[in-house]
């Protein structure tokens, strides 16, 4: 029996060498109930002079910024500003034409342990008819850490249900995802990011099309994430929500027009630079009022 196991181990090692699979597998000893690492200081992510060009079109131009641990950042900008492109660069899906994405936090860690970034896609990018239920979607977040040829164990299912519990979806765990409401679907994907043990969660338009109550539910969850020191970056078209509910705002239009608190970023000058004719700025006695002039449905920023 022992010999058999040893042979199996050798076969697995050989296979991993052959396909170069082992480096892809991350293993961490982390439980959802423990708080996230607290010893690290900011920043958790740094972009240096990032430039992305698609053929002749400049999608992102000379972007540099740092994200702090546990903060909540809103990414705003008109359609085609490069919001999704920026997310893709941060998530490591798209390699920038020039510049660097640094994860200083990860560098001081064990080499094999990678910094986990989760991506919550726009709702219109998901096939909601796909035959999976909420718990199975959340389990997908564990697949990277399980490694090839390993089936989810009790511990993994516990983490899945803990994540679902945190977003208030444990009771609907067995529902097919298409049968959930928009807000519930969004919460399932946040739970997936939690199961993935993400330290930075990127959300693409999570609030679009949700009613007030569902939006409030999402913000309540974002508050819990803040307590866990999870950094959250949200792309949104809603400038009011961005100003009221986020620590910092990033105003993007290919270039980084502004990055700071609402009062620093939402100035007449910067908004004009970013939105040009797509926003109307009305000067009133109480300051500038922003009136959105463009429709934003389902655009890829």
């Amino acid at each position: 029996m022992v010999a058999k196991t040893a042979i199996l181990q050798q076969v697995i090692e050989f296979r991993d060498k052959l396909f170069d699979l082992q480096p892809q597998i991350r293993r961490t000893n982390f439980s959802l109930s423990k708080p996230f690492r607290q010893t690290e200081t900011c920043p958790i992510l740094e972009l240096q002079n990032v430039l992305v060009r698609f053929n002749e079109t400049l999608a992102l131009d000379n972007i540099s910024f740092q994200l702090r641990k546990g903060e909540r950042v809103a990414l705003v900008g008109p359609n085609g500003a490069g919001k999704s492109t920026l997310f893709n660069v941060i998530a490591g899906i798209l390699r920038p034409t020039q510049g660097q994405v640094n994860l200083p936090h990860a560098l001081i860690k064990d080499k094999n342990e990678q910094f986990a970034i989760a991506y919550v896609p726009q709702r219109n990018q998901v096939d909601w008819r796909f035959p999976v239920n909420a718990a199975e979607v959340v389990m997908m977040g564990r697949v990277g850490q399980l490694g090839l040829f390993h089936w989810p164990k009790r511990k993994d299912w516990d983490m899945v249900y803990e994540a679902l519990e945190l977003v208030g979806m444990a009771k609907l765990a067995k529902r097919q995802i298409g049968e959930l409401s928009g807000g519930q679907q969004q919460r399932v994907f946040i739970a997936r990011a939690l199961a993935q043990q993400a330290e930075l969660i990127l959300m693409d338009e999570p609030l679009t099309g949700l009613d007030m109550q569902s939006q409030e539910d999402i913000f309540a969850i974002l508050e819990k994430l803040r307590q866990r020191q999870v950094t959250v970056m949200v792309a949104t078209h809603d400038l009011n929500l961005a100003a009221e509910r986020f620590d910092r705002l990033m105003l993007l239009k290919q270039r980084l027009i502004g990055f700071g608190t609402a009062s620093e970023v939402f100035t007449t000058d910067l908004l004009r630079q970013a939105y040009n004719g797509q926003l109307r700025l009305l000067e009133t006695n109480n300051g500038t009022v922003v009136v959105e002039d463009s429709c934003c449905g389902g655009g890829h920023g």
């Binding site: 396909f19 998530a91 989760a118 896609p121 096939d127 796909f130």
Partner: protein, 272 residues
Amino acid sequence: MVELLLTPLSYPFMVRGLTAAIIVGVVCAVLGTYIVLRGMALFGDALAHAILPGVVVGYLLGGGNEIWLSFGGLVAGILTALGIGLLNQGKVKEDTATGVMFAGMFALGIALLSTVRSYTVDLTHFLFGNVLGVSNYNLWLSGIFGSLVILTIILFYKELLVISFDPILAQTLHLPTKFLNNLLLLLIAVTIVLSLQTVGLALMSAMLVTPAATASLLTRHLPVMMILSATIGAASAVIGLYLSFYVNIASGPAIVLTCTFFFMLAFANQRL
């Protein structure tokens, strides 16, 4: 009734044909769930047509030896799958790339085959299959490669699930996405080759798509969908072959029509 069922089994060619058809029905149907879920139905059809030149070259070189046929088909299948991938990386859209490769390879196959005197008979066999002419060798080939395909799908179940449902997640999880995509293409190519003699190239996409599409109407749970799809695939194979035996119609189309009938039933059931 029992006699109706047993009579065909007294012919060895029917027993071999039934076994082959069941294997093909199950393997195609299980793999087909991924084809349906990923919207690759057109791709499966194109790939099936595109292996024709490989099969013909194998036929011409091997003088009808089945090992050559399968090998030629497999090589052409892999080349086409990779070729579509390559074209797709450029400025050509995927469905356009698929259309171009499909027609080009199919024409090449027919052109090569037209150099042979028994052209029309051979072409008919390649296009529509000849399940009653399945040899023992072919049965073994289907059995071994069919098991390998199913085993691979089970082993890579969760990775294939992630890459089908959310390719971006697969990338952020650092899964070997390229390897997994190519693996799926390889599985489709192997399945097409092992189904060649049973349903033929022209009707292949029905076996790959219809049972899975039927199952997708009946359940919203992937493992159940796979089992249901396999059951429908196998049942269609058996019913189709009996139909072909008693009604005296070609076996490949009989199997495919049974599949289509099941799909219509499921569709009507959903509408009611």
